[in-house]
């Protein structure tokens, strides 16, 4: 190897290493300062979505957290809360679901009533390339005037211009609905 070539290779390698190192440092530093605010924002978004779903509920007691223990073996459901009011009247269960596909990811909050019907679906985060189409689909299909029962979810039409996103939403709701049945019928509630 010629000495000149070696010099060029070393210079190129060093430049790339320094560039990558400085960039990583800057990104890491900004992340260090913004991560707590982002986490607070996420919690606030969750709380607001829960309140929008069950506006009469005064408290949302934690029922399930996949980070602590995933005894139900959920794939999409990450958290769940019981929607209650002051006199401990139970309105339903609220689930936070997060899923990904080739087009991005969706995080949503869904409320299931005591009769296993869908109360409302609120999108917390949508990074799908067809995000607007998926949001419109959720609005018209799940938040419309028609009441949707848990058993009907798997038969819902997903053709909307963002079929894969709509399928992901449907899968998340099927899992959350199944979870609601288990939690309400199982040991947690009937006792």
């Amino acid at each position: 190897m010629k000495k000149e070539n070696l010099k060029l290779y070393i210079k190129t390698t060093l430049t790339l290493c320094i560039m990558a190192g400085v960039s990583a440092g800057v990104v890491g530093l900004v992340n260090y300062f913004t991560a707590p605010t982002i986490a607070v924002n996420s919690i606030l978004r969750e709380e607001n979505a829960c309140k929008e779903i069950y506006s009469k509920a005064t408290s949302f007691d934690k029922e399930f957290d996949a980070e602590e223990e995933n005894s139900y073996g959920f794939k999409y459901v990450t958290k769940s809360w019981r929607a209650l009011n002051g006199s401990a009247d139970f309105y339903g269960l609220v689930f936070r679901c997060t899923g990904k596909n080739a087009y991005g990811g969706i995080s949503l909050i869904v409320g299931f009533n005591k009769d296993y019907s869908v109360e409302k679906v609120k999108v917390v985060e949508n990074t799908e390339s067809f995000a607007t189409t998926v949001n419109d689909y959720i609005k018209t299909t799940y938040n419309g005037d028609t009441t949707i029962q848990y058993d009907d979810i798997s038969n819902l039409d997903v053709s909307c211009g963002a079929t894969y996103g709509a399928k992901l939403v449907r899968s998340m709701l099927v899992e959350a609905g199944g979870g609601a049945k288990k939690m309400m019928f199982g040991e947690t509630y009937e006792k």
């Binding site: 060029l8 430049t15 978004r45």
Partner: protein, 240 residues
Amino acid sequence: MKNNNHEHLKNLTRGIFVENPLFVMILGTCPALAVTKSLEAALGMSILFMITLIGSNVVISLLKKLIPEAIKIPCYIVIIASFVTVIKMLCEAFLPELYSTLGVFISLIVVNCIVLGRAEAFANKNTVFDSFLDAIGMSLGYGLALIIMALIREIFGTGGITMGNILTFIPYFSFVPLATYKLQFFQMPAGAFLVLGLILAVIAFYQNRKHEHQLVKERLIKQEQALLAAQNKAPNVEVK
């Protein structure tokens, strides 16, 4: 000195009108079609785009002599991507509504042709100050184009203007007098294509007209010159 000032001014204004990235060079059309549903989203995108372009242009211009020719494009991409990531995190933390509205299009600024194009075509060859002015001009031009498109789409699509929902530092304001006559089509992707197409057609019409006027003017000057030349050549004949 005067010439220098003229050059600086030219660098600043070039991107706004003569070389407008969207309406003249037809660059960055993907986000332009996607984020111009509302004036606020367009304004937010313009601000984020401006910060990215100014930052990357200045840094690239500063490091132009240190970056080896063979790896300049990967280096530019790293610099631009770092700026976009930082801006994305700051936006997610302090402007969450804007972050959720623009979504994937914030990350896509990395691959926006305008940013990489200006780095390669301008910042790479010019001084830091000139690159800074170029970035301001180009981002103002792009922002202006986005705002024009968003204004048309929002007014026709919703029947008015609403502010303060996405950019929360702006006081809430809603003026929707034509809500009953709104045309939902303008809020859809096809509406975006139509608006962009119509604006480009209007620009092309004026440019063509200007070009035709120029041609006519040149032809008239030529005819006049030919007539003068013919008069000068013609022998003086006295009529008795």
